[in-house]
């Protein structure tokens, strides 16, 4: 059986499982549709949250970004897990006590203001739409490869499937489908990693293998990697190269953004008790950590494998020949990925070999001049292909390659569909029914939901063709937007007595400043070539647009406190609402103690 058929089988079988579970679970419990997590054990809920949360950014994109940058991109690992600490300590238990279903409802009630609710909805829409663009980038990579078509064709086919999946809908609300998606996703991610870790280090646990010994050389794996990448003129893998201040801000943006994203927070509204909300956040992170502790090993080991494939006899000897790439089955992955347009190489100096090195490094330029090289000949290696290509690069069996196809598509689809549902309900329920036309019929509401979904996916697909960055980078922008707008409002709603005007002014200023900063660097509405600055040379010091969310959050807090100080304090009933949210049981009952 050829690889194409195996891939289709795995992807098809995983879909059959999700749809089967959705039908089985729905039959018995239509009424539980909205309260997906109610009556569900915190461990199960944690697993479903993990599936919801881990998207194309975590699955497809992140390890590739770590592989080619090394230590500096540890920010993604810390940022996307550290946010759960904020969520568990600062938000989840109190939002559960408050007991409504959506984030914008909490903001509207706590700040006793329809305007605050409207601003929250707009912020959620902006962040979610940006998030979907990142997912579509990942969808394009995954479908392009597994249908063996170009990235553009893959993206268009993927968009149709995502749309159908989201309209079919309810599936998303069924916790057990998400549990199945988690199982597929985590197996797909860890099984290839276990194989590769065994090959390279003899240790079956990738996270331990990363800090273990490289068996072929007898040296520590990371020392070996540092050595061979620096011999080719690249930055040492484990060393710190970028700007420290930006690194701190970026990590903080991702953390705050994690705690401000509606589709994650929503899961904690529906657990049975406040105590369960606390445990659920922990269990979610356990299941997320299984992938996040594996990802840095995937990145480092893939980088080592790739480099060794291009320099099979060591970095000092001759590079791999064009003929070997064309004929040796070990190099088949290069041919298949070339079809997607995301991998490219060119024998610039016509010596019949492909030299992969850093042609901007002065020492390497000297060696190139001496050896007659005319620049790096691995001309294109899209970071987003690394995880999906990894099992092929390591020559793993066909079924492992098929499994990672199913996993990558599960990760991208589940999150994209979830976000589309969030967008459509925000538009139809919160915006149109809540603000514009309260008399709208149920049919009209449903129609507007579908239209919103179609528009969102069309916009995301169009922008996904020329994305503002690799999948994880685009998703990082979405986190910055959520960090600047939603998280501060939620936190101030629980921990302070900031009033309605303060909250609205804070959210608006945080959101607007951050949006403008991102557009100045990534192009207005992400349209290419409309940007005035680049992240290599940002407007403010070393602060990249991906890191600006933390600054936006600080602006939000500062404006909210200032405006709140200058205006009337909150009414008595809101004061009581804040007090009641802070205590698991009603304060009156507590006096019985």
């Amino acid at each position: 059986m050829d690889q194409f058929t195996i891939n289709l089988l795995f992807v098809g079988a995983s879909f059959a499982i999700y749809i089967g579970i959705a039908i089985w679970a729905r039959a018995g419990s239509t009424s539980e549709f909205y309260a997906a997590g109610r009556g569900v054990h915190p461990v199960t809920n944690g697993m479903a949250t993990a599936a919801d949360w881990m998207s194309a950014a975590s699955f497809i994109s992140m390890a590739g970004l770590i592989a080619f940058t090394g230590y500096d991109n540890s920010t993604y690992l810390m940022g996307w897990t550290g946010g759960y600490v904020l969520l568990a300590l600062l938000l989840a238990p109190y939002l559960r006590k408050f007991g409504k279903f959506t984030v914008s409802e909490f903001i509207g009630d706590r700040f006793y203001s329809p305007t605050a609710r409207l601003v929250a909805v707009i912020a959620l829409l902006v962040a979610s739409l940006t998030y979907v663009i990142g997912q579509m980038t990942g969808v394009g990579v995954a479908f392009g490869r597994f249908l063996e078509v170009s990235n553009t064709a893959g993206l268009l086919i993927g968009a149709v499937i995502v749309f159908a999946y989201a309209v079919f809908g309810g599936m998303k609300g069924v916790t057990y489908t998400q549990v199945a998606q988690y199982v597929v996703l985590i197996m797909a991610y860890t099984i290839p990693a276990v194989f590769i870790s065994l090959q390279l280090t003899g240790n079956p646990v990738p996270g331990l293998g990363l800090f273990g010994e490289h068996q072929a050389s007898g040296e520590p794996l990371l020392a070996k990697l540092d050595q061979i990448v620096s011999e080719l003129g690249f930055n040492e893998y484990t060393a710190h190269h970028g700007d420290t201040f930006n690194m701190v801000l970026f990590t903080l943006s991702l953390m705050i953004g994690t705690a401000g994203l509606p589709h994650v927070i929503m899961r904690f509204f529906t657990v049975p008790k406040v105590a369960d909300a606390r445990w659920s956040a922990g269990w979610a992170l356990v299941f997320i950590a299984l992938l996040y502790l594996t990802a840095p090993a995937v990145g480092a080991m893939a980088r080592l494998n790739i480099t060794e494939q291009f320099w099979p006899n060591g970095t000092g000897a001759e590079a791999v020949s064009v003929e070997t790439i064309a004929t040796d089955p070990d190099y088949d992955w290069m041919g298949t990925w070339q079809q997607t347009g995301l991998l490219g190489w060119e024998d610039k100096n016509g010596d019949g070999r492909i030299q992969y090195y850093n042609d901007e490094n002065p020492a390497m330029q000297e060696r190139a001049a001496a050896e007659g090289w005319e620049g790096n000949e691995l001309t294109n290696f899209n970071r987003d292909i690394l995880v999906l290509a990894n099992p092929e690069i390591a020559n793993l069996p066909g079924w492992v390659v098929g499994l990672i196809a199913a996993g990558g598509i599960a990760a991208a689809l589940s999150t994209a569909a979830g976000l589309l549902l969030a967008i459509s309900s925000a538009v139809s329920h919160d915006l149109i029914k809540g603000q514009i036309n309260p008399q709208i019929s149920e049919k009209g509401e449903l129609l507007s939901a579908r239209i919103a979904m179609a528009v969102a996916i069309a916009v995301a697909t169009y922008l996904g063709l020329n994305p503002p960055g690799f999948a994880a980078q685009t998703v990082a922008l979405a986190f910055g937007l959520a960090a600047a707008s939603i998280f501060p409002a939620l936190m101030m709603g629980i921990f302070t007595k900031v009033n309605n005007k303060g909250a609205v002014a804070g959210m608006l200023s945080g959101l607007i400043v951050t949006v403008i900063y991102i557009f100045l660097h990534k192009g207005w509405f992400f349209i290419p070539d409309t940007n005035s600055f680049t992240d290599a040379d940002p407007l403010l010091g070393t602060i990249k647009s991906t890191s600006f969310g933390a600054v936006g959050a600080a602006i939000n807090f500062a404006v909210a406190f200032t405006v709140s100080k200058m205006t009337a304090s909150i009414p008595q009933e809101i004061e009581e609402l804040v007090e009641s949210v802070r205590v698991p049981r009603g304060a009156g009952a507590a006096q019985d103690h």
């Binding site: 690992l77 238990p93 520590p220 420290t244 009581e576 205590v583 049981r585 103690h593």
Partner: protein, 95 residues
């Protein structure tokens, strides 16, 4: 769902104030550890830890790629356990 109607208006009991103060103290301690292991050991204080080697690199790298995540996990479970205990100490847990 939250039942606001059982709440006694105009009065926040001393016990509730104590409960909230204890909660805020636990949160602050946890967040100090959270920041120390991520922004501290993994980024800003990494040069100080460069002498401690771990598997071919240094302790700061380990914290950046693995240690911080393990600490985050420990913190969330500690907080859940500690707060559920605190709820009972102050008698504010749900039935």
């Amino acid at each position: 769902m939250a039942d606001h109607s059982t709440h006694t208006p105009h009065a926040v009991s001393e016990a509730d104030k104590g409960y909230w103060a204890a909660n805020v103290r636990i949160i602050l301690i946890s967040l100090v550890i959270w920041a120390l292991c991520s922004f501290g050991f993994a980024i800003l204080l990494r040069p100080l830890l460069s002498g401690i080697s771990v598997g071919g690199t240094d302790l700061g790298f380990w914290f950046a790629q693995q240690g911080s995540i393990l600490v985050f996990l420990a913190l969330i479970f500690f907080y859940a356990w500690r707060m559920n205990k605190l709820d009972r100490e102050y008698g504010v847990e749900e039935e």
